[in-house]
Amino acid sequence: MKLRTSMMAAIGLAFAATAAHADINVGVTVSATGPAASLGIPEKNTIALLPTTIAGEKVNYIVLDDASDTTSAVKNVRKLISEDKVDVILGSTITPNSLAMIDVVAESATPMISMAASARIVEPVDDKKRWVFKTPQNDAQMSTAIIEHMTNNGVKTVAFIGFSDAYGEGWYEQFAAVADVRKLKMVANERFARTDTSVTGQVLKIMSAKPDAVLIAGSGTPAALPQKAFKERGFAGKIYQTHGVANNDFLRVCGKDCEGTFLPAGPVLVAAQLPDTNPVKKSAVEYITKYETAHGKGSVSTFGAHGWDSGVLLAAAVPTALKKAKPGTKEFRAALRDALEGLKEVPAAHGIFTMSPNDHLGLDQRARVMVQIQGGAWKLVK
């Protein structure tokens, strides 16, 4: 039912958008169905919580679903730009879609804020990518956090098991590079698929290499499968997961087999446990309160927070852009891009954004914390 009402809302918004042209039109494409649905659905829910007026101007959000499919994402963006004349694009949820959208937004000179993780979306900033920004932390930031934690805790050898797709490959590249520098020895490198029903083979191979620790690079509940297999086979080393698992469904599926697992995450995951001096706490708690008021207690996830952050960036940049041009014009889109690039110290749910012409992500060390699973809940590692 929720899906249907929000779809009706989206249709309603689409009509409203064509009716009034002076408003700021925001085109959103998220992966609310398909393999990435568990990330896309909280993002879509979050878009509904974004402010409807910024600096006195009405904001219309036109939300489309790209079904985790690259072609649909590009089609959505073309439609949003040519038919709805949007001033900015938010999305998409996943890296392949976001990469494919870059050409389209650059061609029409429309700024875009992606909610996907890969650093390749915004790096290096070139003629096309100058229009593209993103909110999630780079995998490199997260893997440095993991390796720091490993080396501080006496881990000498490490094994890797990741998704057999861009997510796993990307993590392996980042992780292996940093591990090499920090003298951490990689003893095994395995892959599994999101839909696999068994990972016994990979787990046995890793265990025969006897690593001190193992990193599981998967997102959402599928990452619980290797973890359960390791526990079942009596693996005694430390287990690390990535921030891709930071939702409550993962805890539900993994249960007691996940006790003691370490992972890096955006501070929003443990916002309530952050010290009051942490500058992220206030903005993160604000998002959590808003989301849980609308969708019930415990429903919030870090993925939705990436969507929230894209809204925060937009809200911070629009007032500057409005001084230069009227919404709906080419000049406004260019001004908005410049304003986004000039953002300084903007507190959001996942960290503090400070953009620059070379950095279209703008997050620093304050955007990640190490978390341990204790008693079926996320605990901040001090």
């Binding site: 899906l3 169905t33 393999p35 649905a37 568990s38 659905i41 098991i161 057999s164 395995e190 892959r191 599994f192 698929a193 839909t195 696999d196 029903t197 068994s198 990972v199 016994t200 083979g201 990979q202 046995l204 191979k205 025969s208 959402g220 509940t221 599928p222 619980a224 499968l225 079942e232 939702n247 469904d249 539900r252 599926v253």
Partner: protein, 345 residues
């Protein structure tokens, strides 16, 4: 790799192979009787498992509404047919089966304390919800086009698959779930540990295969299905209704699918779209059997399971590639050894 690892991998491969074998049997059965390449077979696995999950969580499973909707539609279609041919007497039966059954089931699901029921009862309820969707699906989707060429039936199957996956996302959400195992028991078998659920899967598969064998060999309905599979027109001349054969086949296919789902839900995390890949591997096994031979299909399924387990040890990144590449040599071999018989279309 040492002997113990090989044993563990073999155990894993045979467990998965047992499930693929069940699905392969269902696929061969459906194809033989109705000429439908039943791509949505895997969806019944996911529906069965996730319906059980919802029942165990104490909520009324969302699949009930699909059953109710399909039942009402089927009742409307059948009632119209009965009225048009002047058989008013059939109306009561049509309504009782298509609408009465889901309503009674709905009442049961609302009244019973679902979360606290014994596991066998929960499983039974899950099966009661999911399995009737098989014959209803045949009635609504395949029966009106039963005489269509294989290719059209295949295209319809793809559409049904996509539809069911979409509905699955709506019913169960994007995240996966597991169920508690049937038994926590663990046995020591020589150098390795075997857990209870593995035994359950293998034993249930064997029991089901033997039961199917008996059904086809001894019962009159089983013989009717076999006759339809051998020669559709000949069976019709002998008074076997193709519609009945079709519904019965889909009932069996849905039962096998849902039961497989219930069996593997404690071993692995099931998602709304998990079924497709499991079904596809069953399909590879069915191809090994030429979509005609049950024993070869079952052996092929165990082969697929073992190949999967060992390739995940040696080359995990290429596991699926290796499993699905198996089709190519099998097809080559089949095309060289068997002579082609034209279908009657």
């Amino acid at each position: 790799m040492d002997f113990q690892i090989a044993l563990l991998l073999a155990q894993d491969g045979i467990t998965n192979g047992a499930i693929y074998a069940l699905l392969a049997l269902a696929l061969v059965l459906v194809f033989a009787v109705t000429r439908v390449i039943f791509i949505p077979q895997g969806e019944f696995v996911a529906y069965g498992a996730l319906t059980l999950v919802m029942i165990q969580a104490g909520t009324v499973p969302a699949t009930l509404w699909l059953l109710l909707g399909a039942g009402v539609l089927a009742a409307a279609v059948d009632a119209r047919g009965a009225l048009a041919s002047g058989q008013k007497g059939r109306l009561a039966g049509v309504l009782a089966w298509n609408v009465g059954y889901p309503v009674v089931l709905a009442a049961l699901l609302y009244l019973l304390p679902l979360a606290t029921l014994a596991l066998p009862l929960q499983v039974l309820l899950a099966l009661l919800v999911v399995v009737p969707m098989g014959p209803l699906m045949y009635r609504l989707i395949y029966q009106p086009v039963a005489a269509a060429p294989v290719l059209i039936l295949l295209i319809i199957s793809v559409a049904v698959h996509v539809g069911m996956v979409g509905l699955g996302l709506l019913f169960f959400g994007a995240e996966g779930s597991r169920t508690p195992p049937f038994s926590e028991a663990r046995f020591e078998l020589g150098p390795m540990m075997v857990n209870g659920q593995t035994i359950w899967v293998i034993a249930a598969s064997i029991v089901l295969i033997v039961a199917l064998y008996q059904f086809f060999g001894r019962s009159i309905y089983g013989k009717a299905l076999r006759a339809t599979a051998m020669n559709r027109n000949g069976a019709r001349l002998m008074g076997i209704s193709p519609a009945l054969a079709g519904r019965l086949t889909f009932l069996l296919a849905a039962l096998i699918g849902a039961l497989s789902g219930v069996l593997i839900a404690p071993i692995t995390t099931i998602y709304y779209d998990t079924g497709f890949l499991i079904g596809l591997k069953g399909f590879v096994a069915a191809i090994v059997g030429g979509l005609a031979s049950y024993p070869i299909a079952a052996a092929g399924a165990v082969l697929v399971g073992l190949l999967e387990a060992f390739s995940s040890f040696w080359a995990s990144a290429y596991k699926e590639v290796i499993v699905f590449t198996l089709i190519i040599p099998v097809l080559l071999w089949r095309s060289f050894t068997s002579h082609h018989v034209e279908e009657e279309e």
